[in-house]
Symmetry: C2
Subunit: 126 residues, 2 copies
DNA sequence: GCGCTGATTTGACAGATATCTAATCAGGGC
DNA sequence: GCCCTGATTAGATATCTGTCAAATCAGCGC
């Protein structure tokens, strides 16, 4: 009966994840748990117009086109991105709500009165 | 002042992730990209006192003790949890700052005028 | 139609991973 | 010391995954 931890933690640390939720989220996480796919997602999301042509993406990696295509398919199958063919080129864009689902699992619930943002974590450590 | 894209997106969609950051985050993500490890993390975090004995965890799964031990090791090696032996039992607890690092990647930056929380996503979909 | 470029699919393969059994380590009680 | 319980390590194995080369598909221009 210790209710002291109601608003302290990330959802994953507040109550036990059900098995089905765990399976669902793990599938999503597996899709992004790869350096290439993380960078693909990032490149697509930060590209001008919110979408990127495959040709823009391939150059950023030392990988063959089929490999990039494979990774894009993994992201698309997971529901994180979608694509459309426009003439010769195929364009990809992020589905923000699905990306947010990932963040929601791990981000501490913001308490009114905290700093500006919900989390203030150093990402770039190089 | 109102630059349309400054506060719109998750960090991963705001600017391209560097390769080293991608590798670092992918390692973290790979650790949680498994249903068993997700539930372990959740069980540990939501357990009374913020820590859980291995004996508490093993019963929640249809897996052998060595397998649970393996998964705990993966989480610990990634830096997401830590452990301590106390007499006969070994206790595990979450390292919140590392968990928050995961969330920070995918959580849209909250705008001061947005709804209550930074993200409002349905997690339980069965 | 033909050839060219962009992108995906297929097939193959090396490396990683999740799981188990058996063995080992760590404390506590006798 | 000896045994019992809790937990980890070691070894083995079946499966999954990331990558590439080769083949195929999709538009476009001639």
């Amino acid at each position: 009966m210790t209710d002291a931890t109601i608003t302290c933690c990330a959802p994953i640390a507040r109550e036990p994840l059900s098995e089905s939720d765990a399976v669902e989220m793990a599938a999503l996480l597996k899709a992004v748990a790869d350096p290439v796919r993380l960078r693909l997602l990032s490149l697509i999301g930060s590209h001008a117009g919110g979408e990127a042509c495959v040709c823009d993406l391939t150059d950023a990696f030392d990988l063959t086109a089929p490999t990039i295509s494979h990774h894009l398919k993994v992201l698309r199958t997971a529901g994180l991105i979608d694509s459309e063919r426009r003439g010769t080129w195929v364009y990809y864009w992020i589905i923000p709500s699905v990306v947010a689902k990932l963040g929601a699992l791990f981000t501490p619930l913001s308490e009114p009165g905290a700093a500006s943002g919900p989390v203030d974590v150093e990402l770039v450590t190089a």
